[in-house]
Symmetry: C2
Subunit: 352 residues, 2 copies
């Protein structure tokens, strides 16, 4: 006899592709579909395509004879989103989708409960419960996602922090160099300008311009077919100039993390996203900058005779890789059942 199972669906909505995953109660992936995000067809059309995927996965799995119950759907979307209302903000990678009520639209079509989070928050939830934070039993942490840009998710006291308007915070746009590079957001010197994949390319180009740059780095950044962050990482295994590029990234990331620790005194900071694969290349410079710039990190009082690095804020790479967002989305309905709600800094009410 097959047990009655409570399943959840996770959706990872991206500007290029969208993944839908069906997970069992132990968060094992049962089935997964990937579809191209037809941005120009508009959000309603995309929601219907997702709903069709969910429906067909549901029917296929049910056909196996197992009596199933779908607990709900979790969806991770690029931000900014108003997480209180479930309405999308101005999304640079999803033009024309502004102000679309994603959560309610998906709930209407699927007739299932839908929980919406930013993709960065979804990844943070997955790393917290099933990844880097799993064995720690901590109830607070930050995740910084180093991808094309820099995203962030904050968990305080066992709840996802949503902030005032559900934007929750944009650590990627915290300032690390006040007189620094002009960011696409309009500010100067945002962390994202230095610690993202695009930031690495900029740092590499700048390093190649210096007098002591190796011919290899100069060749890489000037080659006709362009170059990627992976090319710089590959070169860095035995090229000192490329290594310095990662030290530079680590330095700025360290300033950003130091500020997080100074402001919040958090026990765990997880660094994820594509750039996290180069952890060994940037981590030493990152830790140096965290020590140099964070009084709170340096002050942390050892609580045990045997002083360990873990007695301070523990800073480590993510362990779940690119599936964190999908997994975290699928966790949302389960956490909602467990009453792990998000913390909304309440809106300013009527001030007379």
């Amino acid at each position: 006899m097959v047990d009655h199972q409570q399943l959840t669906f996770g959706i990872d909505l991206g500007g290029t592709s969208t993944r839908v995953g069906l997970y069992d109660a132990s968060m094992q992936l049962i089935d997964c579909r990937s579809m191209i995000t037809r941005v120009s067809a508009g959000p309603q059309s995309c929601v219907e395509e997702i709903a069709e995927g969910i429906d067909s996965m549901n029917r296929e799995y049910s056909a196996g004879g197992a009596p199933i119950e779908v607990l709900g759907i979790g969806i991770g979307s690029p931000g900014p989103i108003n997480l209180r209302t479930g309405v999308l903000g101005l999304l640079p990678n999803l033009p024309g989708w502004n102000n679309f009520p994603l959560r309610d639209a998906l709930a209407t079509v699927t007739k299932m409960p839908v929980l919406l989070e930013s993709d960065a928050n979804a990844a943070a939830i997955a790393e917290w419960k099933l990844g880097a934070g799993q064995s720690t039993n901590l109830d607070s942490m930050a995740m910084i996602t180093l991808g094309t840009g820099v995203g962030s998710g904050l968990i305080f006291g066992g709840r996802v922090w949503h902030g005032m308007f559900g934007m929750g915070g944009e650590v990627g746009h915290a300032t690390v160099v006040p007189e620094g590079l002009l960011c696409g957001c309009g500010s100067r010197g945002c962390l994202e300008m230095y610690a993202s994949a695009n930031g690495l390319l900029r740092l590499a180009a700048a390093a190649a311009d210096s007098n002591d740059a190796t011919p290899e780095l100069k060749a890489l950044v000037t080659r006709s077919q362009g170059f990627t962050s992976l090319d710089v990482a590959e070169l860095a295994w035995n090229d000192p100039s490329a290594q310095r590029v990662f030290h530079c990234l680590g330095h700025f990331l360290g300033i950003g993390i130091a500020n997080l620790i100074n402001i919040l005194d958090l026990p765990l900071i997880v660094v994820g996203g594509g750039m996290a694969c180069s952890w060994n290349l940037f981590a030493p410079a990152m830790f140096r900058a965290v020590r140099d710039y964070s009084l709170v990190y340096r002050l942390a009082t050892p609580t045990q005779v045997d002083v360990r690095e873990q007695d301070r804020t523990f800073i480590c790479p993510a362990v779940l890789g690119p599936s964190a967002g999908l997994l975290g989305a699928a966790l949302l309905p389960r956490l909602a059942v467990l009453n792990v709600q998000s913390v909304n800094a309440s809106l300013i009410p009527e001030i007379i």
Copy 2:
């Protein structure tokens, strides 16, 4: 007949003087004692002196015939403190008091429940419940206290944020100028180096060195008896060089506040401490920097047709003045009864 009253004691422990206040249920001050903090006599002796003050105030008030019940004692102490254990850290202004179990020592001598907070958190609680935040009914905010140094208190989801080791965060030591001035804490370019009273003196001395400084500012910073931040504020009412000093302070404070908003998307930030009296002198430059450096502040979506400044993070001066710390301390036992506990980011447990 006199009603049965639930009273609380508040204590504001300072490096120079200590105040003890007795408050009624509507948080009106009934009686207050001020005593010199005899630092060199040691913390136990100071605790006994406080207990004597409490005892005599208690007896005097009871002698009036009112049947009273003391709900508890709240104490605000300079940080860093381990708020989980109630033990003092390395306090620069209270030499020799390191590792003193302040909370338990006071509870033992007074035989009353004692609640301990950092002085900055106590002031934040007072401004939240009875000051700048009173009419807003918000459950999250930050208070930045610009005094000799820069302190901070954070309230998230209706609870004081204590962080990993109870240090809660040191916004004053968040970096605003990575290559900036070396701070006493060992880091470079901390907010405290620019936005405190001492920071203002440094900014004034630097401004007086510039070619276009007015003779009045030059005279002030070079006069034999020295000068204070109040002298600069007084001069600034009609001296452009002194005004620029406050613009400069506002600029750096704005970068610090922008980072708080970028990271946390908070609805309310209250600026207190002695320097807050010069709000009009630094606020325009502060707001300019907040706009320039905070994507989240600029993005804030108006939720009403009638767009108001309040639809963004509301940044305002504190209203309670120097009594905020004492008042907040006296509020602690009352909030504890209401079950408004603090949020501790739990410690890293055993990682095997």
